[in-house]
Symmetry: C2
Subunit: 346 residues, 2 copies
């Protein structure tokens, strides 16, 4: 199929629109059904508004890329719905993350728990998780596709939760080194953002993770996923809030055990170390304090080192693509995605 | 099969033990796998301890009853695992409920969020929900069984969350009447406690909800489920904390919009109404205040009226069993369950 595969087969913007339409229609139907049975429509409505307020749809796009990488053609509706279910799961993860991190702003708007209260936000997150299942199960997949998809979806979900659990048990204390921080990154984000969606898509096309195609997608996906999160860590500290949609101080106030912070602590002199320990994880951190932390992160070379780690990972992923036997239009798309996921500003 | 079906085919105690073993083995494996991959075992361990600390396993028992009601024999391992997944879902619902209700005690011990903090408890609840899926998906069901089970499981889950959402949006304000309170009861508890598990079990035996057997199970399950929750409401106010495992003041402090409270408000004179409004939903409610509320609930006849509602529902369920064409040993079990679910003290 690679011979007859023009770039138009993988129109990312069209795919994003199709995902949005799928999610909107699904949630509108959910809200209507709830109302018809005397149940609150608000939960599904708030969830729908949250999803439409932003997001790059990177997971559904990668799922469809995985499907086509493994020989799938176009984007059949069941594949589109399975891909969209990843975005619904992502909404769940963000809503509960924001409660856990006590974040006030997401996608340039108040976080869900700031809109409706923590109690309702917990339930809206729960609903998103259940509806992610529902969307996957009712996607119209064949029994063989469903059987292949379920274990991947379950592992992806459990890993995300384990990673987040690891994250909160490390938050607020100085990271023990870049190793543990990288483990958090790997499970909390890398797998469910890049590798998992690719493997899910491939599984829908009948290709498992231990085939040459599946192994290539993992070998590409893991480093890009890590680079994605390392970029996120940098943006959380150095990013422009107008572009990221998140306040400039949130990540520093929370004191996440990031690779960036671990490297800075490792290289800091006593004065720099005091600056970090005093400010990072301090819920009352000021803009002045944040500036001092940024200076230390830069002066210790941690910021540059993380940029190097991102670059290395991006190179590893590109090298994998060079040797992997994937359809040319997918190789091109995955190259583009590796850059846009790791060199982004939002 | 009814001819060769002795009571021993449905040994509730043996079934409970088998469910417990299934859950313990599954969670031990989860914890071990997590540890092997550098992930925290604590989440699965805390969840396992919580499940083993108590619970009547009523949902798995009903699932197996539904299976046998629809012609299934014994309790094959896939059916046992599917049944156990309902208990895992129940753990999710309780853990998040307790956070939402700010409850301090459950099953005679500190609630999960009092043990590990709210952030970790949100994630342990999330993990329970994901693992409930995992246990169902890896139960070893046939594709046909899985296809039949998934929509029932999803509806049951979404309804529980919608019911809880309805509950919190009504909590703290005087209930508008017994009607809305009964809707909450129906969705928050009745469906996922009795009807859902029965229908899930029947579906595993190839019997859908619109067959005579499925309709009989619904006609039995809905009233028993409502009676179960109405009993729970009474126990929350009048129960013995040593038996219920929950503090005597929690439900009153929270101010749930129960049928009990709605009926009391409907029948109260101005003095009684003031007592209710002043005390119910008051987070600082004293034992003295609670005694005054209990007196009003009794004096207005609300307590007796709820006992009547429970009795009516129990009678409806028993009448259904009289006319339904279910295997005799299941009819006997369901009779017993109707009494034990609605006349219980814990």
């Amino acid at each position: 199929m690679s011979a007859q595969a023009p770039a138009a087969l993988f129109d990312q913007n069209a795919l994003r629109r199709a995902v949005d339409t799928t999610l909107t229609e699904f949630l509108t139907r959910q809200a209507r059904n709830a109302h018809r049975r005397g149940l609150p429509q608000q939960a599904a409505q708030v969830l729908g508004d949250f999803i439409q307020a932003g997001g790059k749809r990177i997971r559904p796009v990668l799922c469809v890329a995985g499907w086509q990488a493994a020989g799938g053609t176009d984007t059949p509706e069941p594949v589109l719905k399975a891909a969209a279910s990843l975005e619904m799961f992502h909404a769940f993860a963000l809503i509960h993350d924001d409660i856990i991190d006590a974040s006030d702003t997401r996608r340039g708007r108040p976080t869900i728990h700031r809109q409706v209260g923590t109690e309702a936000a917990i339930l809206i997150g729960d609903l998103a998780l259940v509806l992610a299942d529902d969307l996957l199960h009712t996607a119209g997949l064949t029994p063989a596709q469903l059987t292949a998809a379920l274990p991947i979806a379950n592992t992806l979900r459990a890993d995300t939760i384990y990673g987040q659990y690891l994250d909160i048990t490390h938050a607020g204390q100085p990271p023990a080194g870049p190793g543990p921080a990288l483990t958090i990154t790997r499970y909390k984000t890398a797998k469910y953002t890049i590798e998992g969606p690719l493997l899910l898509g491939a599984a829908l096309a009948g290709t498992s993770g231990d085939t040459p195609c599946g192994l290539a997608l993992s070998a590409y996906g893991m480093p890009v996923g890590e680079a994605f999160q390392l970029r996120d860590d940098l943006l959380g500290v150095f990013g422009n809030p107008d572009e990221t949609g998140k306040p400039a101080l949130d990540d520093l106030r929370e004191g996440k055990a990031t690779v960036l912070m671990a490297l800075a602590l490792q290289n800091a002199n006593p004065t720099q170390r005091r600056t970090l320990v005093r400010n990072v994880g301090n819920p009352h951190l000021t803009h002045d304090g944040a500036q001092q932390v940024r200076a230390v992160l830069t002066d210790t070379g941690a910021r540059a080192a993380v940029e190097d780690l991102i670059d290395q990972r991006c190179q590893m992923a590109l090298a994998t693509l060079d040797t992997a036997d994937l359809p040319p239009h997918i190789t091109a798309e995955l190259r583009f995605l590796a850059f846009s996921a790791t060199a982004r500003t939002a």
